[in-house]
Symmetry: none
Subunit: 183 residues, 4 copies
DNA sequence: AATGAATGAGGCTTCATTCAT
DNA sequence: TATGAATGAAGCCTCATTCAT
C-alpha cells in the first residue's frame, strides 16, 4: 500500500511532525497553525508540507493513526471477557479523549474527509463484534444497536474532552450509560 | 448591570445582529466571519462591532441568550410531572442541538468565556431542581448526581449536532441514557 | 452597469491602485507581487484585495481600461482620413505598448480571462470599421482580413514592448507591415 | 570555453535535462517548476541544479541551443534559392514558435541573460547574410534593414505563440509582412 | 449611532536552492 | 555524482478590528 520506503531521516521527520501535530492540534484544536506544528516538530514549514501537502492531509493522517490504534485495541479485546470487553473499550476511549482535541473534533465532524472513511468503518466493524459478544454474554440488552453505541461513544468522548471532566465525573457519567446498556 | 438604556433603533439592531449571529454561526460554525453576520443582519460591519466589541463578545452573547432561554424552559417544567420533566427537558435540548452549531461549540468549550459563567450556573441550578424532583418521584436513581446529568446532556447535545444524528438515532441514544438514569 | 457608487475615498484609492498596478505590472510584468502594487499605491495590502478580490481581477481591470481607451481612440479616428486612420491607430498602439508590459502580456495571452472578452470584442469591431473604411478608400488591399490586422497589431505591440525597440526601429518595422497592407 | 569534459553519464543527464526543460517550459511557460523538469527528465532535483546552478542558467541553456539550431538552419539556407530563402526561414521560425513557449518568452525578454548574447549575435549575422542575398536577388526591397527583419521575426513568433494562431492565420499574417518586404 | 473602507497580522502553500546521505 | 529531503523566503488571500465619513 505504502509507496517507496522513506529515507531514514525522512521517516524520522515524518514521525516528529505527526507527534507535533497531535500535540499541537490536541492542545489548540484543529484551528492551530501549521506553522506551530512545524516549530514544535523542530522542522521548517516546508518540511511539513513535503510530508503532508495540505493541512487537511496532516489532520487526516492523525485521525487515521488514532483509528488504527483503536481498532487494534478492539481486536485484542475480542478475546477477552465478553461481559466487560465493550465497557472496557468504551471507558478506554473516553479516557484517551480527555487528552486529545483534534481527534475528537474530526471524528465528530463525521470523519468525512477523504481517506478517513475506510479506517473508520473498520473500527466500527470491530466494535460491532464486541457488541455482539456482549449481547451473547447477556451483558448488554438485546435491543441495543451498534448505531447508538457509536453515538454514545463519540458523544461521551467529546464531552470528556471539551468539558474537561475529571476522572470521577468520567466514571460516574459512564456508569449511567453502562447501566442503560445492561439488560 | 447593563449601562444606559439603548435607543430604540440601537436595541432593534442589537437583536437583529444576535439573530443573524445565531443563524450564521449555527449554520457555519464559529469560524464563520463576522462580515457574514453583518450582512445577514442587514447592517454594516461597524455596527456589529459597536454592539459587540469583539467576536468573542458576540459569541458569548448568543450563548447567554440560549442559557437564559433554557433556564426559562426548565423553570416552567418544574411544575410539570416530575416523572418525565427531566427526561423531557433533556430530550428537548438534544433536539435543539441538532439545529445549532455555534452554541454547542461554545458550551463544549467549557463556557469559559467571561460572563457566561453566571447564566450557566443558573441553568445548572434549575436543572438540579428538576433532578431532585425526579428522584423524589422515583423516576431517577438516587445515586445519580447533577454533575453527570449535565455531562450527559452536553455530550449528547454535541453528539447530536456534530454527528448529524437523525431523529431515530437521537431517540435510541437517549433511550439508553434514560434507562441508565432510571432506578 | 456599475453597482452602487463608491465613496469618495474609496474611488480615490481604487484609482490609485489601478495606476500603481499599471505602473508596477508595466515595469515588472504580471508576475510582480500584489504587495508591491499596494506599496506603490500607498495603501495596505487588504485594500487592494477589497477592491480587486483576486490578482486576476486586478489584471483584468487594467486590461479592460486599456481596451476601453483604445476603443475610444478608434472611434474618434472613424471620422478621420480613411487613408491613414488605420495606420495611425496601429502606430499609436505600438507606441504605447513600448511603455506597458502587463497589458501586452495579457492581450497576448488571448484575453481569455473572464470579463475581458467583451471589451476586447468591442475593440475588434471598432478596428474592423477602420479597416473597411481604409479598404473603401483603397488604402488597404482588398484581400486583407481583420484577423491578420489584429494579429499583426498584437504581435508588433508585443515586439515593441519586450524587444525594447527604439522609435526608429519601431517606425521602420511598421513601415514594412504598412507596405504589406497597401494595395 | 567549456571546462573539463563530462563523464559519459553526466553528459547524458545534461541532455535529458535540456530536453525535458524544453518540453516543460515549452508547454507551461517559464514559470513551470524546476521540479517538474527534473521529474520529466527522470532525474532528481539535485541533479538538475548540479548541471544548471540556477533556473536562469537552465533557461539560458535552452535558448542557446535554440539559437544554435536556428543558426545552422540559416547557414544551410544560404546555399538555397535567394528569392525564397529568407521567407522560408522566417516562416519556419514562426511555425516553430507556435509550439514553444519558453523560448519566445526569453527571446522576447531581450535575451538579456548572460551568455545568450553571443549566440544571438551569431544568429543575427546569419540572417543578415540571408537578407543580403534576398536583396541581391531583388526579392526584398533595398531599403529594408536587418533590424526590422529581426524585429518582425520575433514579434511574429511571439504573436504566433501567445496568440494561438492557427495555420491559416499564420500564413495570412506572414503574407502581409512578406508583401511589405518585397520591392 | 451607522456606515463601510482601510488596516495589517497571520494562515496556507509553492518553489528555488542547499545539503546530508 | 546522484539523490531527494530540508530550508525558508515570498506570494496570495482572509478576516478581526479600527477609523474616517
Amino acid at each position: 500500500m505504502s509507496s517507496k520506503p522513506l529515507r531514514a531521516d525522512a521517516r524520522r521527520n515524518r514521525e516528529r511532525i505527526l507527534a507535533a501535530a497531535e500535540e499541537v492540534f490536541g492542545r489548540r484544536g484543529t484551528s492551530a497553525s501549521t506553522e506551530e506544528v512545524a516549530a514544535t516538530a523542530g522542522v521548517a514549514i516546508g518540511t511539513v508540507f513535503r510530508h503532508f501537502p495540505t493541512k487537511q492531509d496532516l489532520l487526516s493522517a492523525i485521525v487515521k493513526e488514532l483509528l488504527t490504534r483503536l481498532t487494534a485495541e478492539v481486536t485484542e479485546l475480542t478475546s477477552a471477557d465478553p461481559t466487560t470487553a465493550l465497557f472496557d473499550f468504551f471507558a478506554g476511549v473516553v479516557e484517551q479523549a480527555a487528552a486529545k482535541k483534534s481527534v475528537v473534533d474530526l471524528l465528530a465532524a463525521g470523519g468525512i474527509e477523504v481517506g478517513v472513511a475506510e479506517p473508520l468503518a473498520t473500527l466500527r466493524d470491530a466494535i460491532g463484534a464486541l457488541l455482539t459478544q456482549a449481547q451473547q454474554a447477556n451483558a448488554v440488552r438485546e435491543g441495543v444497536r451498534l448505531d447508538e453505541v457509536m453515538a454514545l461513544l463519540t458523544a461521551t468522548a467529546q464531552g470528556a474532552l471539551h468539558g474537561g471532566w475529571d476522572d470521577d465525573l468520567r466514571r460516574r457519567t459512564q456508569e449511567v450509560i453502562f447501566a442503560g446498556l445492561r439488560p
